[in-house]
Amino acid sequence: MLSPINIEDIINILPELIILFTGSIILINGVTSRSNKVSYYVAISGTFIGLITKLILIFALYENMNYESIFMGTLVAGSLESLFSLIFLIALFVCLNMTKYYQDQITSFKSEFYGLLMYSTAGMMLLARSNEMITAYVSLELATLPLIALVALGKGKLSKESGLKYLVLSAVSTSFFLLGVVYIYALTGTTFISSENPNISIHYGTIFQGISHAQVMFPSDLFVSVSSLDISNIIILISIIFIFIGLLFKLGVFPFHFWIPDVYEGAPTPITMFLSVASKSAGIAILLRIVLSIFNIADVSNTSWHAVLNWPDISLSIAILSVFSMLVGNILAINQNSLKRMLAYSSIAQAGYILIGFVALLSSSEIKDAVYNSSVMVAYIFGYMFTNLAAFYSMGAIKQNLETYDFNQFKGFGRIDVLNSFVLSISMLSLIGIPPTIGFITKLFLFSSGINSGFTWLVIFGLINTVISAYYYLRIIKVLYLEKSEFSFDNQLQAIKVSKLAVLLLISIVVFGVYPDPIFDFCYDAINSVIN
């Protein structure tokens, strides 16, 4: 019924294939020769080739910005997934580059380290473009399982402990996701998310079409007494909640945030960075695909579209999660002394900000608003990527010299390691949202999307939290520049390497902070091509 695989499908997933292939070569190399140098260079060049291929595909194939379904409708090829793939690949590149400095933190399985990292990235790239729930589940596992091993590959007990923690919790969360998928399949008989290919809607139908045909009246409010509901209503509700639980776990928002501080602290720093940027974006990517496909078929100008589609109005619940994530993340971050742990808590708060975008998207009352709301959210994630990569990268470089993450030891370090301290400070400013950094302008528009959808109180909460967060982010800058160092660094410092990558990240933060139009444009066009 659906067209068989052809050469175009293969070309479209070439970047994923390159990454997977490189990962396999590295694993084989690890078994046979155990030469770390070779593995490292293979990994770097593989990533680089993947990145270039992706960019060529973006500019060559997707010029018309149409969404195509490939591989019999299980995957899609378009600009939105390319955008997320770009985030994963950039994160992978920075992560590999950073691993160079972390040789002593990782156990002897170094080739496996690189190989698993590649596998995980390929999984995320597939996840971002999967158009079918089972494919999404497989990609989710492909993305998560290597990460569990990677978290545990660091030296020391803490790393093993956090690996185990991550294993148990992500197993539980992915099984929630699977359970949700199974329920929906039981109800609708399909697992396709959206119908780029007309054959899908003719022969199978998408899950949302299936849900809307479930012939039950669905209450528009989530908080209604369960007894009054029809059985299929309850199933729809439960399955949607389960799918969201599985994916919100990836984002690390409140009540699913408990793993974040421990795992982030225990994992080797490059992996922490990868978790906070790539893994989080992967969760958002698939969540966004699901939500956008609703808007594809929903007539949002009709105020009762939730009832028409049998889709519960979950925006208020997500808003509450957002408020608590921001509060918990920011308040717990204040008391941290370890920079790494502080960044972990701050990433919970950042996930809360991202949820504001989701709330705005879920309650948009016009298709145009939905496009705007989701594109500024994606732009925020883009900015968050640059900022967090820079923060972790420079933190790693500083840690290399001082052998500690305790930032009370950073006193006066801004005068000694000028470049890395500067990058760290600028990324802190970007995390607060102060011009001229990318964090400012993207956060501004993220909040504007909240007001656009009528969630002014949520935006006020977000801004209060921004002021709270300014206190602890600025403490880092204060320690770096304002306090006198208690001891002389000169004799115990390694030669401070000026990393080109850190400079590049710094430049992107500032340049896109002053001239963000390319990012906003790209995101807007990408989203525009999905909903229409």
């Binding site: 145009k368 705007y372 302008i441 501004l444 504007s448 656009n452 002014t456 304002l482």
Partner: protein
């Protein structure tokens, strides 16, 4: 050179100059370079002001597309009109003063000038931008440089003061941005010209938006219950930062209120003007009473700022009048008060900074008899003190009389109470002058010398401006009227 290029360079010359200077130059060369930049800036500002004031009030503007997300358009739109032209002139003068006031800085001067010039760019950007997002961008841009200027080169409890300043300002701008976004989603544009032209359909009550933005700006102003950051920040900041803080950053609050709150939500401004007037009177009297208790010179000048910025609110409250003349009088008085206070307080901070450099103390009780050895400083301090208490012949008099005339026509009792602020000002200024300039000295000043030629230049510029405006106020008020007409209609 076309005027719009000059306007563009007024905004960016400080930042670019600061960055280049901080990276490539050192010590003596850097100091010469920053003087050069500041004088270029002064000349450009004067030129553009004269161009505007004497050649037909032609509005000068620069417009580029900046960010474009689907239907949302944010432009890089800067424009010189009657309301901001005097403030640009003021900012040009105070830039020069701030650079002169910085020549005692010895440590980390590259960083120092980098932050100083970034701050100055932020100030010029705020005054010139005609797009709400651009306005907010520059408004936020100024926070971090000020934080560093206070916390690295300040004195006393500098880190505490810097953090206090930062948290207050950030809270203010958080309220403000909500208001801006509400304006946008009620109207569909960030462009201030467009907003003035069209009818806004408020999605949430405009009074709420007015209050949000007003509180945001009145933290900067500062109005009475939100003034907590000001005395600490002023006292602990280095002299140049104090000059800019009092001279320009506070004006951003007043300017923002007129430019955004009053022009876009005029009916709310009229409804709430009684409350604004009450807060103004409290600020004036409370500020003056607090100033009476200060013995630290810098703290004294800082608290007097709270009092003097209260006059702006009284002038603004005349906006509720049905009489067009009264409205104009009040608003021009408030705007002129901003310019005048910028000049006077800038001079006071500069002189106090100089005294502190020489005598190593700012305590009124430890100083005394300065007139015997610091003749120039004493004369300048006396004149600026007189200007601060509003003596005829100085700019302070013109501004205050306009404010009182406007305010009295509308709220006669409240304005009458606030006039006592002038009496109290006479109290603390004369007491200060008497103690510091006259009297007998406890210390031996014979080895100390007065300000040298380079240090005298900014004093002369400021004294000239204060007296010139005092004698020929039309130089500023004619231009202000053009701007105020645009707001009232």
């Amino acid at each position: 050179m076309s005027n719009s290029i000059i306007l563009l360079s007024i905004v960016f010359i400080p930042a670019i100059g600061g960055i280049l200077g901080a990276i490539f130059l050192k010590d003596k060369l850097l100091e010469k370079f920053v003087y050069l930049i500041s004088y270029i800036q002064l000349i450009l500002c004067t030129y553009i002001y004269i161009q505007f004031a004497f050649f037909g009030y032609e509005q000068i503007s620069v417009l580029y597309e900046w960010i474009n997300i689907g239907k949302v358009n944010v432009d890089f739109y800067i424009k010189l009109d009657g309301l901001n032209a005097p403030l640009i002139l003021l900012a040009g003068i105070l830039t020069t003063v701030a650079v002169h006031a910085s020549n005692h800085i010895r440590e980390r001067i590259n960083e120092y000038y980098f932050w100083l010039f970034l701050l100055i760019t932020g100030v010029f950007g705020v005054f010139l931008s005609f797009d709400l997002i651009l306005f907010f961008f520059f408004f936020e841009l100024e926070i971090i440089p000020m934080f560093f200027l206070i916390s690295i080169w300040g004195t006393g409890r500098k880190e505490y003061s810097a953090m206090k300043f930062l948290l207050f300002t950030l809270s203010g701008s958080a309220l403000m941005i909500i208001g801006f976004l509400c304006i946008y989603f009620s109207s569909g544009t960030f462009n201030l010209d467009e907003l003035n032209r069209i009818q806004i359909n408020w999605i949430i009550p405009s009074t709420f938006v007015f209050i949000l933005i007003f509180i945001g700006f009145s933290i900067k102003l500062p109005m009475w219950p939100f003034h907590g950051w000001l005395p600490d920040a002023h006292t602990d900041a280095p002299t140049a930062a104090s000059v800019l803080l009092a001279g320009l950053l506070l004006k951003m609050g007043g300017y923002g209120i007129i430019r955004i709150c009053y022009s876009l939500m005029s009916s709310d401004a009229q409804n709430l003007s009684l409350i604004i007037s009450v807060f103004g009177v409290i600020s004036v009297i409370y500020g003056a009473l607090m100033t009476l208790r200060q013995t630290d010179l810098k703290r004294l000048v800082a608290f007097s700022s709270v009092s003097h910025m209260g006059y702006i609110l009284i002038g603004l409250s005349a906006f509720s009048s049905s009489d067009l003349i009264t409205q104009k009088l009040g608003l021009s008085g408030a705007s002129l008060q901003m310019v005048s206070h910028g000049l006077i307080t800038g001079l006071l901070f500069y002189l106090v900074g100089g005294i502190y450099e020489k005598c190593k103390t700012r305590e009124v009780y430890e100083l005394g008899g300065l007139s015997s050895h610091f003749k120039f400083t004493s004369v300048a301090l006396a004149i600026s003190g007189m200007a601060s208490l509003g003596l005829p012949g100085t700019s302070g008099f013109i501004a205050e009389i306009m404010v009182f005339m406007g305010g009295f026509a509308e709220y006669n009792i409240l304005t009458s109470i606030s006039v006592f602020g002038v009496v109290l000002a006479a109290g603390y200024i004369l007491w200060m002058l008497q103690r510091v300039i006259f009297g007998t000295s406890n210390n031996d000043y014979s080895k100390l010398s007065d300000l040298n030629i380079v240090e005298k230049i900014p004093v002369l510029i400021l004294l000239f401006s204060i007296l010139f405006i005092g004698i020929y106020p039309r130089f500023i008020t004619d231009v202000l009227n053009i701007g105020i007409n645009g707001i009232i209609n």
